[in-house]
C-alpha cells in the first residue's frame, strides 16, 4: 500500500469547519475508487454538549488512517459516530458506497464496521471464550466459530490459557487484548480502534501492530486513534489532525509527519 496517492479522497488544505453548509457534494465517483468510509461535514453532540463541528474525513479502501489530536479533541467521538453509537446532529456518513447516517449500530456492524472502544470494553460476566463467540456470526455454524476462536488465540496466546475464565477477572492488559481479539475474530471491512496501545506492554503493542498490518494487507481498512504518534505514523498511510472538534489538517503521512510530531499537547 503506497502512502499518499493524491487522488484518494483527501484534500490537503485545512477543513472548513463551521463554514458554509455542505451544499454541493461532488458527484459520487465509481464505487471502487470511492473511499470506504466518508464523513461529510459531521456535527455531533452529547445532549447539549457539542463535540464535533463539521468534520470531514475519508478512509480510502485498504489503507490505514491515523486520527491524532490532543485530549478532548473529539477522536473518540469520531469513532463513535462512525459506529453509530453517537448520532450525528448534521452531516452524512457514507460507508462502502451507501449512506449509513441513519443505519443502526448493529446493522453497521453487519455491513463490516468493527470497533474496539477505548478501555476495558469486554463483557466482564462472560468467559473469554463467550466474549469471542458472541460476534462470530451464528449462521456459520460451530466449526467456523471454533476456527475463528483458534485464530484469536493464536494472535493473543496469553488469552488461550484463560479461555474459561470470566473476562472481568482478567488483568487490564488482558482485557484490552480480549477486546482487540474479539474485533479480529471476523476480519471486517473497516476496523476502528480507539486508544490502540493504552495499557499494553511494549512487546504486546509490537505484536498488535504486526497483526494490524497483516489484516490491512488482507484487505481491511483501519481507522486508529493512537497516542504514540511514532507508532501510529509507522503504520498509517494518512493522518488526520483533530483539535477542538475540528479537522486541523489532514493528508498523506509523509507530508504530515513533521507537523504531527511537533503538535503541542500530544
Amino acid at each position: 500500500m503506497s502512502a499518499g496517492r493524491p487522488d484518494d479522497g483527501f484534500n490537503d488544505g485545512a477543513a472548513t469547519p463551521g463554514g458554509p453548509s455542505p451544499s454541493a457534494p461532488a458527484p459520487p465517483p465509481a464505487p471502487d475508487q470511492a473511499p470506504l468510509l466518508e464523513l461529510e461535514q459531521v456535527h455531533a453532540a452529547y445532549g447539549p454538549f457539542r463535540a464535533l463541528f463539521g468534520v470531514s474525513i475519508a478512509v480510502p479502501r485498504k489503507s490505514v488512517v491515523a486520527l491524532l489530536g490532543p485530549n478532548g479533541a473529539g477522536k473518540s467521538t469520531v469513532a463513535r459516530v462512525v459506529t453509530g453509537l453517537v448520532p450525528v446532529s448534521s452531516g452524512r456518513v457514507r460507508f462502502d458506497g451507501r449512506d449509513v447516517t441513519d443505519v443502526r449500530t448493529y446493522q453497521r456492524a453487519r455491513l463490516g464496521i468493527a470497533y474496539a472502544p477505548e478501555g476495558r470494553s469486554v463483557f466482564s460476566t462472560l468467559t473469554v471464550e463467550e466474549n469471542l463467540a458472541l460476534p462470530a456470526r451464528s449462521d456459520r455454524g460451530r466449526a467456523a466459530t471454533a476456527a475463528a476462536l483458534e485464530k484469536a488465540f493464536q494472535a493473543f496466546p496469553q488469552l488461550a490459557a484463560r479461555r474459561r475464565q470470566r473476562a472481568g477477572t482478567l488483568s487490564g492488559g488482558e482485557q484490552r487484548m480480549l477486546s482487540l481479539a474479539s474485533v479480529l475474530v471476523e476480519p471486517p471491512l473497516l476496523l476502528v480502534v480507539d486508544e490502540l496501545s493504552l495499557g499494553l506492554a511494549a512487546v504486546v503493542i509490537d505484536s498488535v501492530f504486526q497483526t494490524l498490518a497483516a489484516i490491512r494487507d488482507a484487505g481491511t481498512s483501519l481507522l486508529i486513534v493512537e497516542q504514540h504518534v511514532d507508532r501510529a505514523l509507522s503504520l498509517a498511510d494518512h493522518v488526520v489532525l483533530l483539535s477542538k472538534g475540528e479537522v486541523v489538517r489532514q493528508g498523506p503521512v509523509d507530508e504530515m509527519r513533521a507537523l504531527a510530531t511537533s503538535l503541542p499537547g500530544m
Binding site: 453532540a45 452529547y46 445532549g47 447539549p48 454538549f49 457539542r50 473518540s76 463513535r80 459506529t83 453509537l85 453517537v86 446532529s89 443502526r104 449500530t105 448493529y106 456492524a109 453487519r110 468493527a114 470497533y115 472502544p117 478501555g119 476495558r120 470494553s121 469486554v122 463483557f123 466482564s124 460476566t125 462472560l126 463467550e130 463467540a133 458472541l134 460476534p135 456470526r137 451464528s138 472481568g168 474479539s182
Partner: protein, 682 residues
C-alpha cells in the same frame, strides 16, 4: 422431620410460583432494565381471558390455555416492549418504576372494562387431574399443586439450559451488561430484549393460570401479593442470580407454611407472619446480602457515549412572571375560597375539602420524591398510621383531635424513618420495593389488628374542636383543612429553601460531590423521608376525620400506587403540582360518574398518564409551565433584539437541559429525570 415435611410440602407450589415469578422479574430487569411491577396486571390479563373463554365461551381447556399463554401473553409482552419499554432504556429508575406502576393500575382497569368487574370465582385449573390428591407416604399434594411444581422444575431447568448453552442465552447474558457492545457485535440488542420480554410474558401468563385456582379466584390483588413475595425472592438472588432467586422463592413459599404450622394456631404471630414475610426477608437481604449492597456489579463499558444527566437548573422564571404570580395567586385563592364557602352545595363543599386533604397527602410525595428523588410506595400506609393514632388517642384517650393529629404525624414519621433506614443507602429500586412490601405487611397484618386499626369495626375519628370553635360543620372543617394545607405548603417550601433542601439539591447534582464536601447524605435522606411520612400522617388523620371513621381498608397499598403515579405525572416538585394532582384525583371520578360504565376507566386514566410521564419526567404541569416560560422569554428577547441565546444547541433536551447553559454536569445518573429544576420561585 416428618412433621416438618407435612408443613413444607403444601408450601412447595407456592414456593414454585414465587420462584418462577422471581425468575421472570430478574430476567426482564437484567435484559431491559425494567423492574416489572406490572407483573400482576399481565398475569391478570391472561387469567381473565382464560377464565372468560372457558366459562363464557366454553372453549376446551387446552385451547383456552394455549391461547392465553402462548398468544395473549407474548402479544402483550411484545406490545409493551414495542410501544413503551423500548423508548425507556435510557430513562431513570424513577421513570421506569412509575411507568410499570402506572401499567399495573391501568391495565386491570381496562380488562375490567371489557370483561366486566364481577367476581370470577373458582377458575378452572389447567392441571390434569387437578382435584386428585396425590399421596406419597403420609404426605399429599393436590393435582394443581403437583402440576405447578412440575412445570416450575421444567421451566427453570429449560431456562438454565437456554442461558448456559445457546446462542440466544449468551446474547441475553451479554445484553445485561451492555446493549451497545452487543450491537457492536452485529446483534440487535432490542430483539434480544424483546425475546426476553416474550419469554417472561409467557411465563407470567402461565403463572397467572396456575395461581388463580390456588386462590379460588381471579383477582389482580392476589397476583400483586405474589409479586411482592417474588420481589423478596429476586432480592435474595441479588436481582441477577437465577439459581439463588429460585432457591429464594422456594424458601419463601415453604418457610411461610412451615412457620405458620409451628406457631400456635390463630395467634397474632401465625396470622401476621405470612403477609410480613416478604418485608422481613427483603429487609434482611438489604441489610445482610453483600451482593445487593454492592449494587450492580458490571457497569456498561460504553456508558461514555451517553450525555451526562441534566444539571440542576437555576430559577427559570423571569422576575416579571414572578411578580404576576405573586399578585395572581392570592387573588385566585381568595376567589376559590369565596366560591367554595358561599356558593357551593354540601356535596361540592365535601369534594373541595377532599381536595385540600389529598393535597396535604400529595405534598408528602413532593417532599420525598420531588426534593430527594426517592420513591416511596407506602405513603398511604403512613397516612394510615397517622389516622389510627389520631383516632385512638382522640376517641379512647380523650386527647384533643388536633393534638392527636400531630401525634399521628409524629408516629408516622417514626415509622417512615424505620422503614427507610435499611433501604435508603441502596436508593431507587430497593427503597421502592421495600416500601411496597411494608405497605402490604401493614394492609394484611398491622392495620387489621385491634390495637392499631380497631379490627373489624375500625376506629372512630372525631372532627376537631379547638377551644370554643367546633369544626364539626362541613364549612368550618373545610376552612381548617385549608389552613393546614397552607401551613404544610409553607413547611414544604421551607424544607426546600432550608438546609435540608440545599443538601438535597446538592445531592441530586452529584451524590459523590455532595458527600465529599461533608454532607451527611443518609441523615438528610432519612430526615426527608420521615418529614414526608409525617406530612402524610397528618393528611391521613384529616382524611379520617372528614368521614369520622377509618378502618383497615381505608389505606390499602393500591392508593399509594395510584397517588405516586398521579403526583409524579402532574409534577412532583411544586406545591402547585400536588394541588393539581389532588384536583384531578377528586374531579375525574366525579366527572366519570356521570358516564355510567365509563367510571371503571378512572384508574386506566391515571395509570396511562404515565405515558406522558415518560416524555416529561418533570411532570406535565412543569413541562407546560416551562414551555410557556420559554416562549415568553423568546418573545421578549425578540422584542428587545437581543441575541443572548445560549451557545449550546438542543431545543428540548430534557428537563433543564437547554436552559441551563454549559454548567458542570453532575455525576449522579440515578435521579437525572428528577434533577432538573431547583424549581421555580414562589
Amino acid at each position: 422431620m416428618s412433621q416438618f415435611l407435612i408443613y413444607a410440602i403444601p408450601g412447595l407450589p407456592y414456593g414454585c410460583v414465587f420462584a418462577l415469578v422471581g425468575v421472570c422479574l430478574v430476567l426482564t430487569y437484567q435484559t431491559s432494565g425494567m423492574f416489572n411491577l406490572a407483573f400482576g396486571a399481565q398475569a391478570y390479563v391472561s387469567a381473565v381471558i382464560f377464565y372468560t373463554t372457558v366459562e363464557d365461551h366454553h372453549w376446551p381447556l387446552w385451547l383456552a390455555a394455549v391461547f392465553s399463554v402462548l398468544v395473549v401473553g407474548p402479544l402483550l409482552g411484545i406490545a409493551l416492549d414495542r410501544l413503551l419499554y423500548r423508548y425507556m432504556r435510557a430513562s431513570t429508575t424513577t421513570v421506569k418504576l412509575i411507568t410499570a406502576i402506572g401499567l399495573s393500575i391501568g391495565v386491570p382497569s381496562i380488562v375490567d372494562f371489557f370483561f366486566g368487574s364481577s367476581e370470577k370465582l373458582n377458575p378452572p385449573s389447567i392441571a390434569p387431574h387437578a382435584a386428585h390428591t396425590y399421596h406419597l407416604g403420609s404426605y399429599y399434594l393436590d393435582g394443581n399443586g403437583l402440576f405447578t411444581v412440575v412445570v416450575t422444575v421444567v421451566l427453570v431447568v429449560g431456562l438454565g439450559l437456554l442461558f448456559r448453552f445457546t446462542a440466544v442465552g449468551l446474547r441475553m447474558r451479554a445484553v445485561v451488561e451492555s446493549p451497545r457492545m452487543v450491537q457492536l457485535a452485529g446483534i440487535s440488542s432490542e430483539r434480544v430484549s424483546m425475546l426476553a420480554w416474550i419469554l417472561s410474558s409467557m411465563i407470567t401468563a402461565l403463572a397467572g393460570l396456575m395461581l388463580a385456582p390456588i386462590y379460588h379466584d381471579v383477582d389482580v390483588n392476589n397476583f400483586n401479593l405474589v409479586l411482592v413475595t417474588s420481589i423478596a425472592a429476586a432480592a435474595i438472588g441479588g436481582m441477577s442470580n437465577l439459581p439463588l432467586t429460585l432457591a429464594g422463592g422456594l424458601l419463601l413459599g415453604v418457610g411461610q407454611q412451615v412457620l405458620a404450622g409451628y406457631l400456635p394456631l390463630n395467634s397474632i404471630l401465625a396470622e401476621g407472619l405470612r403477609p410480613s414475610f416478604p418485608f422481613i426477608v427483603l429487609v434482611a437481604v438489604l441489610l445482610l446480602s453483600p451482593a445487593v449492597r454492592r449494587g450492580r456489579s458490571a457497569p456498561d463499558p460504553l456508558s461514555g457515549c451517553d450525555p451526562p444527566p441534566p444539571p440542576l437548573a437555576a430559577s427559570l422564571r423571569g422576575a416579571g412572571l414572578d411578580r404576576v404570580s405573586r399578585v395572581g395567586l392570592p387573588v385566585f385563592v381568595v376567589a376559590v375560597m369565596y366560591v367554595t364557602l358561599f356558593q357551593l352545595s354540601e356535596h361540592y363543599l365535601g369534594l373541595m375539602t377532599e381536595v385540600a386533604i389529598y393535597s396535604i397527602i400529595f405534598l408528602s410525595f413532593t417532599v420525598v420524591t420531588g426534593f430527594s428523588g426517592q420513591i416511596s410506595l407506602c405513603q398511604m400506609t403512613f397516612a394510615g398510621f397517622g389516622a389510627f393514632t389520631a383516632g385512638q388517642l382522640a376517641t379512647d384517650h380523650g386527647w384533643p383531635f388536633l393534638v392527636a393529629m400531630v401525634a399521628g404525624g409524629f408516629v408516622a414519621a417514626v415509622c417512615g424513618a424505620v422503614v427507610a433506614l435499611p433501604a435508603l443507602r441502596l436508593g431507587g429500586l430497593y427503597l421502592a420495593l421495600a416500601t411496597l412490601a411494608f405497605a402490604v405487611m401493614a394492609d394484611e397484618f398491622l392495620f387489621p389488628l385491634n390495637d392499631i386499626g380497631g379490627g373489624e369495626a375500625g376506629v372512630d375519628v372525631p372532627r376537631p374542636v379547638l377551644g370554643p370553635i367546633d369544626f364539626g360543620a362541613d364549612r368550618s372543617f373545610f376552612l381548617l383543612c385549608f389552613a393546614i394545607l397552607v401551613l404544610v405548603s409553607f413547611v414544604v417550601i421551607l424544607i426546600r429553601k432550608g438546609t435540608i433542601g440545599t443538601y438535597l439539591a446538592a445531592m441530586r447534582g452529584s451524590e459523590v460531590a455532595a458527600s465529599s464536601i461533608g454532607i451527611n447524605l443518609t441523615r438528610a435522606k432519612i430526615t426527608v423521608f420521615a418529614l414526608s411520612a409525617g406530612i402524610a400522617g397528618i393528611g391521613g388523620a384529616l382524611l379520617a376525620s372528614q368521614v369520622q371513621h377509618a378502618d383497615s381498608e381505608s389505606f390499602v397499598y393500591q392508593y399509594s400506587l395510584v397517588f405516586v403515579v398521579l403526583v409524579l405525572t402532574t409534577g412532583a416538585r411544586t406545591v402547585e403540582g400536588a394541588i393539581n394532582a389532588s384536583l384531578a384525583y377528586v374531579a375525574i371520578p366525579e366527572i366519570l360518574s356521570h358516564f355510567g360504565t365509563l367510571s371503571v376507566l378512572e384508574f386506566a386514566l391515571f395509570g396511562f398518564g404515565t405515558i406522558a410521564y415518560v416524555k416529561h419526567p418533570e411532570g406535565i404541569l412543569e413541562f407546560q409551565k416551562r414551555s410557556s416560560i420559554r416562549k415568553f422569554n423568546q418573545l421578549r428577547a425578540r422584542m428587545k433584539h437581543r441575541q443572548d441565546r445560549p451557545l449550546i444547541h438542543g431545543d428540548d433536551s430534557g428537563p433543564g437541559g437547554a436552559e441551563s447553559g454549559g454548567r458542570a454536569p453532575g455525576i449522579a445518573g440515578e435521579v437525572a429525570g428528577l434533577s432538573g429544576a431547583g424549581d421555580v420561585g414562589d
